[in-house]
């Protein structure tokens, strides 16, 4: 277990080294396709792309700070039934965690899948990304990597997306094969490690040069995780204080227009048809008048706070903190902050961590006979 190899980075070109590695993976007989973030023609947009022809890997860019979609949903589409082939998927840590949740909800399968996870350098919000990116996208990515890995921001840098700034799990747990970047001399060699039986299987065929993971990686991770955890806790505290009564919560959500983009973007909002878009919410016109009459006024569209609290009840135990909700919001509501803050508490209550393991059952999918007695009865 945990066998490591080293891949050479030639002429300081980290992207080229990774593209070469992906090509080696794709070349394997058993791998039918590789899913990888790739730049699209014409625009600098980066989207998960299913590649069978290695030449398309020359535009692969798994290090770009573009993060337009949580790819867990894509991998779920690719794996929910047998495809007749095996796919290698290059995923961010929060995408892997979301996928683990989807597998437990029977919306994806790990058979015929090899997950390749990279140490995650983070991403920008969509808006920031498009302001930042310029013609030479490779150079942009290189600059971003050097800022993130060496802290050298002389080339000018931008803040990571709000979710990434408080992400304390930037290491790809749950991947079959990991690529290490933190604390690694990325101008020399980067470590590739098999983390599971499926990973080892593929690993053995790749013919890589066996080596050791640089010890500096562990240290760099520890430092980053500590910083991020502190930032996360500060964010929790600030958010709690901003929503601790109903009036404040309504203020927090005041700009919400019930577009439900946050739910569409959420990788773990698992319903095929969300109740909020069913005819349950096609209220009779007379109903609105009754609502208005009761308190003298009702804000339209209605059910905004209801929607958010219900979504918290439905999916917060599965929230992986990817921040796509905030990224998708047209009105800049800090959705991620609210959801992560509440999710932290609901997951703690059930001793559950979203995406941690395929073996932990989702909290609302099981029960024990002898538990939570404190919520029964009318004392205190």
């Amino acid at each position: 277990m945990a066998e490591t190899a080293l891949i050479d980075v030639k002429e300081h070109n980290l992207l080229a080294a990774l593209r070469g590695f992906f090509k080696t993976v794709l070349k394997q007989e058993e791998i039918s396709a590789i899913l990888v973030p790739r730049r699209l023609p014409v625009t600098p947009t980066v989207m998960p792309t299913l590649v069978t022809d290695p030449k398309h890997l020359d535009a692969a860019d798994p290090l770009s700070p573009a993060f337009p979609i949580n790819a867990a949903k894509i991998v779920s589409r690719l794996t929910r039934r047998e495809s007749g082939g095996k796919v290698a998927a290059v995923m961010r840590p929060c995408e892997i965690r979301a996928f683990v949740e989807l597998v437990k909800l029977k919306q994806g399968r790990t058979e015929d899948l090899v997950i390749i996870g990279l140490d995650c350098l983070g991403a920008f919000s969509n808006r920031d990304y498009f302001q930042w990116i310029s013609e030479d996208a490779d150079a942009c990515t290189e600059k971003f990597c050097s800022v993130m890995l060496t802290g050298d921001s002389s080339g000018g840098s931008r803040e990571l997306a709000s979710a990434c700034r408080v992400c304390e799990q930037p290491v790809p747990a749950g991947a079959d094969i990991t690529v290490g970047l933190f604390g690694v001399d990325t101008a020399g060699r980067i470590p590739v490690t098999a983390q599971s039986a499926a990973g080892e299987d593929l690993f053995a065929k790749l013919g890589l040069r066996v080596g050791e993971e640089p010890t500096a990686r562990r240290k760099a991770i520890e430092k980053l995780v500590a910083e991020r955890t502190a930032a996360r806790d500060a964010m929790f505290e600030a958010t709690r204080a901003t929503v601790d009564n109903l009036e404040k919560l309504t203020g927090y959500l005041a700009n919400c227009v019930n577009c439900y983009n946050c739910r569409v973007a959420c990788p773990v909002c698992y319903c095929r048809e969300c109740v909020f878009v069913t005819d349950v919410f096609d209220h009779e016109p007379s109903q609105y008048l009754r609502w208005a009459a009761r308190k003298g006024a009702v804000k339209m569209p209605t059910d905004t706070v209801f929607y958010h609290i219900t979504r918290l009840a439905h999916m917060s135990t599965a929230c992986v903190g990817c921040g796509q909700c905030s990224n998708a919001c047209p009105n800049d509501i800090p959705v991620m902050e609210l959801f992560r803050t509440v999710a932290h508490r609901t997951q703690q209550a059930f001793d559950y961590r979203a995406g941690r393991s395929l073996d932990d059952k989702p909290p609302l999918a099981e029960f024990k006979e002898d538990e939570f007695q404190e919520v029964v009865g009318i004392e205190a």
């Binding site: 109903l246 404040k248 804000k299 209801f306 006979e369």
Partner: protein
């Protein structure tokens, strides 16, 4: 000014608590009239959104009540209900809802008396707490 009468939305399971409420009625036991009973087939079918909706619409309290552990007509619906109430009790207080506003109890079909006592007691508690914020303010 007359005393504040809290509105309680009560989700009672068909097999135990609702029967107990029936029994309380036929036994001429009294319980506060401001309770709006919703008969559900099982406490395990109360989706969190029913509770949330009731509270946001201005109910001063919500009670979910089912059969005693081991007595669920559908074997384990009440255990599932307990997890959902646990979940809501983690979420709602973060937005200022007091714990008294959401209750879960087990009341057997023969326990009309217990039902009447519990409803009286919950009403007292809510009266002491005063009307819910959702009732007083425009909730969007």
């Amino acid at each position: 000014m007359s005393e504040f009468e809290p509105t309680i939305v009560a989700f009672f399971c068909n097999w135990c608590t609702y029967t107990a409420a029936d029994l309380a009625g036929t036994s001429r036991l009294s319980y506060p009239h401001s309770i709006k009973i919703v008969r559900v087939m099982c406490s395990g079918m109360v989706d969190p959104k029913y509770v949330i909706k009731a509270l946001l619409e201005g109910a001063d309290g919500v009670i979910v009540s089912g059969c005693n552990p081991g007595d669920c007509h559908y074997i384990n619906g009440n255990y599932k209900a307990r997890r959902r109430i646990k979940l809501l009790k983690e979420i709602l207080p973060q937005f200022g809802f007091e714990p008294e506003r959401l209750r879960l109890t087990w009341i057997a079909a023969s326990d009309g008396l217990l039902l009447s006592e519990i409803m009286q007691e919950m009403t007292e508690q809510l009266r002491a707490l005063g009307p819910s914020e959702a009732r007083l303010k425009m909730v969007i």
